[in-house]
Symmetry: C2
Subunit: 348 residues, 2 copies
């Protein structure tokens, strides 16, 4: 069983070099995606220019674009004899798709930050704080509409439907999560249905899109989609854990906002189930306020080994991800495993 080594992750420059090494097979592609995103900032020469650059320039890990590129570059009998014109066309479509999934991701973050009233992301004020809600609404719409135009131009009906379905699911996931705020007794099933739609589905669709454009046979497309879905769920579990136990300066965002905003996430669901009635009472009093007694929570987290338990769920999904890669050629499998392990092994 492969375990996630969250604590031992390298930091700073070392970490950035490690990522570069993992991404080395697709670095030229990623650079082109970066240029496309930067060009889009320039193109929006109106009031969105500053805000578009603010969210698009060199930001984020580009995990979704990387998955498109890695999966599209997997060699297989099905794509070893592509003519040079088909190959050239493929490269262009893959780049468009890789940029488009990053745009959808960026649009979601911008709009979610309005809805959640978030003030800090990636060590910077959110768009709604820095430029106002009006610009944030428009910027999100602009990014979505650009993404859909690019996806439509890739011209693969199945992919267009998949991406539309995913975006709709992300939107519904956000809505359902908002509707289920202030429920300290949220179930695990509800939690997993939120994170699958809100986070994991776009990661899964990115891998699927890359695999389809490779093109790989349907079986491999499905396997890669399942791999990425599991990585995505695992990723969100770790993200939610870090919100409870992480360090603000390392993560670059305000922490403990979930519980403060009345959102129950896996560590808190696991903890709440284990609390005695009087503890539940105390938890509910602090829940969805800024007055939660975090020392009390800390004591309970340790007593019930919630960090280890939460990690075991992430491990479990990661194991599922690893298994999904069984039929994938070994070089690609190794790259994808390194990438996902790197993404998941974040420090506090």
């Amino acid at each position: 069983m492969k375990h996630l080594k969250i604590v031992e992750a390298p930091a700073g420059v070392e970490k950035s070099l490690a990522l570069k090494k993992i991404l080395s097979p697709i670095l030229p592609g990623l650079s082109q995606v970066e240029l496309k995103l930067k060009a889009l900032g320039d193109e929006s020469n109106g009031i969105l220019k500053d805000s578009a650059h603010y969210v698009l320039d060199g930001e984020g890990k580009r995990l979704r674009a990387a998955l498109v590129l890695f999966c599209a570059s997997i060699e297989h009998d099905s794509n070893k004899n592509l003519s040079s014109s088909v190959r050239k066309d493929k490269v262009e479509r893959v780049m468009e798709m890789a940029a488009a999934v990053e745009l959808i991701h960026a649009a979601t973050l911008v709009h979610d930050d309005i809805v959640d009233g978030s003030i800090l992301r990636r060590l910077k004020p959110t768009v709604n704080i820095k430029f106002g809600d009006e610009v944030a609404v428009l910027l999100g719409d602009f990014l979505y509409s650009k993404a859909f135009k690019m996806i439509a131009e890739v011209g693969d009906e199945t992919l267009t439907c998949e991406m539309a379905r995913t975006t709709q699911g992300m939107c519904e996931g956000e809505i359902d999560q908002l509707k289920n705020r202030y429920k300290p007794n949220l179930t695990m099933e509800e939690y997993f249905s939120f994170i699958e739609r809100k986070t994991a589905s776009l990661i899964a669709s990115s891998a699927f899109a890359g695999a389809r454009l490779a093109p790989l046979p349907l079986k491999e497309q499905m396997a890669l989609q399942k791999f990425a879905l599991n990585v995505g769920i695992s990723y969100q579990i770790i993200d939610d854990l870090l919100d409870v136990i992480g360090s603000e300066s390392k993560l670059g965002k305000t922490l403990r906002t979930d519980t403060g905003n009345g959102k129950m996430t896996l560590p808190m669901i696991l903890l709440f189930k284990r609390m005695q009635d009087s503890e539940k009472q105390k938890f509910i009093e602090g829940f969805a306020t800024v007055h939660m007694d975090w020392e009390f929570i800390q004591t309970l987290l340790e007593r019930h080994k919630i960090v280890e338990l939460t990690k075991s769920y992430a491990d479990n999904y990661f194991e599922g991800a690893v298994e999904s890669l069984n039929g994938i050629p070994s070089a690609a499998r190794e790259s994808l495993l390194n990438l996902s392990q790197f993404i998941l092994n974040r420090d506090y």
Copy 2:
């Protein structure tokens, strides 16, 4: 030359009966679209249920859906021998598309009302006022994503690209207009570029989509798109004129908001060009505030016959619309002309 008779339009019940008569060939289709939109409100069973019903149920003139349906029902050599299964499939795709364009329209209104800070639409508080900005952001995204899923499922690559291009243009039109607020010397070219992208393009794409799904030959698709583009421009000119001279109770929205918000529209552009320097000075002082001296404006509007002049622009585009229909079979041409004349002949 056909003139628009803005003043003589019937009102109330009479008006509603007149519209029903014009729409009679497509009423069964429109009812089905209405059911689809209502079902969508029910489907969003989360926090959006109320707001989705609020904007989707029996609202608006369904001009865009009507254009899809009218154009799709035009009989032509190209579609007279469709097999019954192709015909059935066509009906389903046409309904999806008709509902989808109304969703895009609704999404745009909901998000624009946030951006513009509007408080009243169709005699009711806007979504941002009634349900808050957070719900308005989510509802717009939900409607957009639903629309794109439906369009993708229609499975016509050209239409998917057209709709994505249109939505992107609408978004960019809104952005450009916002960027050019507070410019009393806005040019006619700028104004027309805003309204073509923000309003006319979706109306044009609706007609194009119907014509393509009919299916009509490319020449007729283009003619109908051009017709609807001209109707859309004419429509927006009248809308902007009514913002200056209309009656709030009849139109169901706050008036004179454009000038108050620093937006120059055609009547004001025409007026500003004709003002003397001292009048311009006085105009600029009241511009983008709630302190505009409307008696002063009224006097100038009359002196320079701005209402008539603005209407002549609308007439001109309407004439262009009429001309575009030359090659269209006469029954369809009559229906489309009646519809557009009804839409344009609004009272104050």
